[in-house]
Symmetry: C2
Subunit: 255 residues, 2 copies
Amino acid sequence: MKQLAVFNQKGGVGKTTTALNLGAGLARKGHEVLLLDLDPQAHMTSIMEHAPRDVAASIFAFYRDGKALHELEVEWPGIGRLIPAHTELIKVDSLFGKGPNILNKLGNGLTSLREMHGERISIIDCCPFLGVLSLNAVFAADCLIVPVSSDFLSLRGAQQIDHTLRVLEPVLKRRVERRYLLTRFDKRRKMSFEIQEKMRELFGDDVCETVISENVSVAEAPAVHKDVFAHAADSRGAKDYASLIEELTASGFFR
Amino acid sequence: MKQLAVFNQKGGVGKTTTALNLGAGLARKGHEVLLLDLDPQAHMTSIMEHAPRDVAASIFAFYRDGKALHELEVEWPGIGRLIPAHTELIKVDSLFGKGPNILNKLGNGLTSLREMHGERISIIDCCPFLGVLSLNAVFAADCLIVPVSSDFLSLRGAQQIDHTLRVLEPVLKRRVERRYLLTRFDKRRKMSFEIQEKMRELFGDDVCETVISENVSVAEAPAVHKDVFAHAADSRGAKDYASLIEELTASGFFR
Ligand SMILES: Nc1ncnc2c1ncn2[C@@H]1O[C@H](COP(=O)(O)OP(=O)(O)OP(=O)(O)O)[C@@H](O)[C@H]1O
Ligand SMILES: Nc1ncnc2c1ncn2[C@@H]1O[C@H](COP(=O)(O)OP(=O)(O)OP(=O)(O)O)[C@@H](O)[C@H]1O
Ligand SMILES: [Mg+2]
Ligand SMILES: [Mg+2]
């Protein structure tokens, strides 16, 4: 089971959008998918129609009560399964921030899931804050997907992540595999290409060839409780996410 | 001295962009301006050329060592003054999260500044996380500016804030004055107008008439260490921020 964390401490770069659309696109190619919402603002959860609202049905119950992750999975028709978030997650940093081994909690929880779902791909949506929750995701992940929106402040965020991951390497005892994904790419702006150029200079082959275009269908989909494929299969946004999946699959990323 | 907090726990909605451009625009109208960067990612600080990098010169020194705020002010030519952020601010939640009266720390610090700079307008840039730092900003503010980017997930964030502020009212012992500002508004998208409609339905006169257009000059300015007026005074973005200042001034907002 491949475990991916969609991570970037910069806000609004397309983490939730990418976690959801990557999951939905993989499901359409026949993969078994589990989405985990690790954001106290529960945006990904809110996109699903009739997502559980109860704190006992959210991943907070895993943190606070030690509830098993597999008991928290709910069906997301057309996509796979979701483990929902809840606003109570905001308390995780202060409740558990200082605990020993808290950083491996999610990873350990996912390990038991692995035995039950060998071929499943898990995708974790992170919040824009480098606290216990996001660190849990990084520690649990085989690989990070780092969406970088095609603007200057977001580029700066990408550089901070690279630095953060290097600081974590001695603790993780491995180099975290990562792919940077340019999002909200507007071909009419010189800036988009400048950001792409700079990203390639900095991170070389870790930067996906595929870029996700700025496309209104991508932004509209959440309003109708859909992923971009369900909302507008022929849109530029859907095609770009499909190309991303092709690119990652071809490079053996999901094996 | 008017104290404004630019706050929205949703990421990438234009907080930093608005804090900086509001400050720069007010400076151009002759106001004395103080910008405070309360984001551990220090994006606003990074826009200023030659901003201090030392942790002892940042607002973290106020939190950790009780350093006086006025000692941390640096000149930002053409704008006013800045109190810089630093990545060490990420520790404030775990270091002080449980302390008594931590929520009023920034407000108390700004009270002494008030005596020295009666007419100055302070603008606090917040990070996309509702922790000790952002709560400090909310508690210190006379009024919140809540940027809301013109898309569905951001609308949802605005609704969460309204709820959060209501929960805080008994503690604050007042209703926090607030203005919602639609940002990244793309006139070609039906969605932009739908979001605006919904915002007016929900928040009535608290929604600014002025909207900030999606405009590449706004996004380019940080790359050249400038605010939008210095980078592209005739751009749509500069005109919109100028209109915003006119609107707020006319309604007595800065008195
Ligand atoms: N390619 C795109 N084209 C158009 N709109 C997009 C695109 N990608 C994302 N958006 C929109 O931009 C906004 C920010 O995206 P999203 O919420 O996924 O970012 P995020 O990184 O998860 O934000 P946060 O840091 O708050 O969790 C959303 O309203 C989303 O619908
Ligand atoms: N009106 C606009 N037109 C074009 N680009 C914009 C506009 N407003 C903001 N941006 C760009 O969108 C990105 C996000 O804006 P910004 O960083 O100010 O948001 P934020 O809310 O401060 O984000 P965070 O939650 O990460 O602190 C930035 O690259 C910024 O330059
Ligand atoms: Mg998100
Ligand atoms: Mg910001």
